[in-house]
């Protein structure tokens, strides 16, 4: 063995002579060695500090080695235990290894073998620790972009994402354009066991039929004019990871059939090829089309619809979760202030009123673009209303005096009108309770149109 000044070994054996001789033997190698004569002493040692390897005798008075192993596993999950015993039976060896012991050696053991086993145990322990560190680091850097939202609707979506991410099931994300469907898909991927493999996005709406086929399945050399080289398809690249099919409602009927087959069998051939390729991916798809109507119109296969629509997440448009607008605006302000290195840290009251008052038909994407543009033209320290894109500024209906009360009055009136003075619905959108809404209606003298 070699110098191991950084590693420690705990020897648990009821025989003093065994403890002492092993301790001396390992000390010559520079290990830090501790000894314990029974289970109680061993557990005390383990509570006091961590040990890299625990050498455990099976036959001890009172709590024996096998029982102690269970207690150690509870106290120190992942402890590296090597059983060392004079009373070897196949049953105990199998049981010990099943419970996670690293190895099982019988006394007397060949010094070279013991040295080898301990070295391997330490090597595996180091590798496991490194592996965990790398995984943690990967988790950190593979985290999806932050999804911002405080509205009850978004809170519900976050819960759904967390639940479905771990279950390896197909997910369909519905919502208007710009609501952040791809962000949700990425959050599902990064919360899943497939996060160390890629998430591959296929924009089904942006490609012609033949191109989409080649994009998904890849092609062999000479499969068609211009196919000079063999090319891997997105299905092959997504092996182990997640396949995100964006705008899935726009796939042609033929490709729908091919896609259904791949999702069911997890195998396919490249265009122009015969070789069957196996692949393992999870499908997450998104659409803003009314797929139920498409199924009824026979433009979308019913079997594919059911295959894809196992778990559905609907992202409401921004106008239906107004309490998120200000939060998102401030989030994007901070984001672009940092990326553009511009000291704009706030919105003027007029600008904020314009943002909150806008109905954002392009949803979060439109809001983000508006803030990005405003950040480009804006002058520190704050973004003004005139820095916002024209359509935003024009559609604002902020009051002339610009006070918070006036902004609130205008906003409440707008929401009430949008929802035909349905108090319950408007209160949900405004994220206040009904009594508060009635009080505000009275305070601002708002009247329901006759």
């Amino acid at each position: 063995m070699v110098m191991n000044s950084n590693h420690s070994i705990l020897i648990v054996d009821d025989e003093k002579i065994v403890r002492d001789s092993l301790a001396k033997w390992f000390q010559e190698d520079g290990y830090e060695v501790g000894t314990a004569e029974n289970a109680a002493a061993a557990l005390k040692q383990l509570q006091r500090r961590g040990w890299d390897v625990i050498l455990l005798d099976i036959k001890m008075p009172g709590v024996d080695g096998m029982e102690l192993q269970l207690r150690i596993n509870e106290l120190v999950p992942g402890a590296t235990i090597i059983f060392i015993t004079a009373h070897a039976t196949i049953d105990t060896a199998v049981q010990a290894l099943k419970r996670g012991a690293f190895d099982y050696v019988t006394k007397p053991v060949d010094p070279d073998y013991l040295s080898h086993v301990v070295r391997n145990a330490l090597k595996q322990r180091t590798l496991s620790a490194e592996n965990q560190k790398l995984k943690d680091r990967m988790t950190e850097i593979s985290k999806a972009d932050e999804i911002v939202g405080q509205s009850p609707q978004m809170q519900k979506i976050f819960e759904m994402v967390e639940t479905v991410a771990r279950a390896d099931t197909t997910v369909m994300i519905r919502g208007e354009s710009g609501t952040g469907k791809e962000l949700i898909a990425r959050a599902i991927h990064s919360g899943s066991g497939r996060k160390f493999f890629p998430i591959v996005t296929v924009n089904c709406g942006g490609l012609a039929e033949g191109l989409l086929e080649s994009e998904l399945f890849g092609h062999e050399r000479g499969a068609f004019t211009g196919a000079q080289y063999r090319r891997k398809g997105k299905l092959e690249i997504a092996d182990g990871g997640t396949l995100f099919l964006d705008e899935v409602g726009n796939i042609s009927t033929k490709t729908q059939m091919d896609l259904l087959r791949v999702i069911e069998t997890k195998q396919f051939s490249r265009v122009g090829g015969n070789e069957l390729i196996r692949t393992d991916f999870r499908v997450v798809c998104a659409t803003n089309r009314d797929l139920e109507k498409a199924v009824a119109d026979k433009t979308f296969r019913e079997d594919l619809y059911y295959r894809l629509n196992v778990f559905s997440i609907f992202i409401p448009p921004l106008r239906e979760r107004r309490s998120d607008i200000e939060l998102l605006a401030k989030y994007f302000l901070k984001k672009y202030s940092e990326t553009m290195n511009k000291p704009i840290r706030a919105f003027s009251p007029e600008a904020l009123a314009a943002i909150v008052g806008h109905c954002w038909p392009g949803n979060v994407r439109e809001l983000e673009n508006a803030i990005e543009r405003a950040m480009v033209v804006g002058i520190p320290p704050a973004i003004q209303a005139h820095d916002l894109p024209m359509q935003v500024a024009e559609t604002q209906d902020a009051p002339a005096d610009g006070t918070i009360a006036a902004v609130e009055k205008t906003h409440i009136r707008k929401i009430l009108e949008e929802h035909r003075w349905n108090i319950s619905r408007s209160a949900i959108i405004l994220d206040i309770d009904r009594v508060t809404l009635y009080n505000k209606i009275e305070k601002y003298g708002l009247k329901r149109p006759k």
């Binding site: 063995m1 070699v2 001789s21 092993l22 001396k24 033997w25 010559e28 520079g30 006394k107 013991l114």
Partner: protein
């Protein structure tokens, strides 16, 4: 004051003893004396294993020997040694202690069914003596393949190393030796 080493053994011929004493003295920068006595091994015999418990030999050696602040004693025996748990040991030393023991049993080619090789045997004995005496001065095992303080769990590993300490071990040894003789 210099370090004094006593090698206790009735084994080997005069000529070979002289060569070993010279090599050990040179490497350890110590005065080395071969004392022709049979080390106390009777109590260490384990009838069930038909081997001798090296730790017991060390205890008896320490009890019987003239242990003082400047002396290290190494017993050279030809019986097979063991410590509980291990099938055998080539030798054992008291880490930072006065005594050490090595066995010639497994250093002989004949033990492995090979024809005798006296030169190699002698070299193995020298290396094991220096190695165990190194432990008595507090040295741990070394990573360097050629260093005499490299651990050997099978005999071929002894052949790989030289009868000398690497620079690092030598530095540690000299400083430990100085501290030992000055106490």
């Amino acid at each position: 004051m210099s370090l004094h080493v006593e090698l206790h053994s009735a084994l080997l011929d005069e000529e070979r003893r002289a060569r070993i004493v010279l090599t050990v003295a040179r490497e350890l920068d110590a005065s080395v004396e071969w004392i022709r006595v049979s080390p106390p091994i009777q109590r260490a015999f384990d009838a069930t294993r038909a081997q001798y418990h090296s730790t017991t030999i060390l205890e008896d050696l320490q009890r019987n020997g003239n242990v003082d602040g400047q002396r290290k004693i190494l017993a050279l025996v030809d019986v097979d040694l063991f410590i509980p748990v291990l099938t055998f040991v080539f030798g054992e030393a008291q880490l930072n202690g006065p005594c050490a023991v090595i066995s010639t049993a497994r250093l002989k080619h004949e033990f492995y069914g090979l024809p005798a090789n006296e030169a190699e045997f002698e070299s193995r004995v020298e290396k094991e003596i220096i190695h165990e005496l190194g432990h008595t001065l507090g040295l741990y095992h070394c990573r360097n393949f050629e260093c005499v303080m490299r651990s050997s769990t099978y005999v071929e590993e002894i052949d790989l190393k030289r009868a000398r300490m690497c620079v690092d071990c030598k530095t540690k040894y000299l400083s430990a030796k100085t501290a030992f003789v000055s106490t």
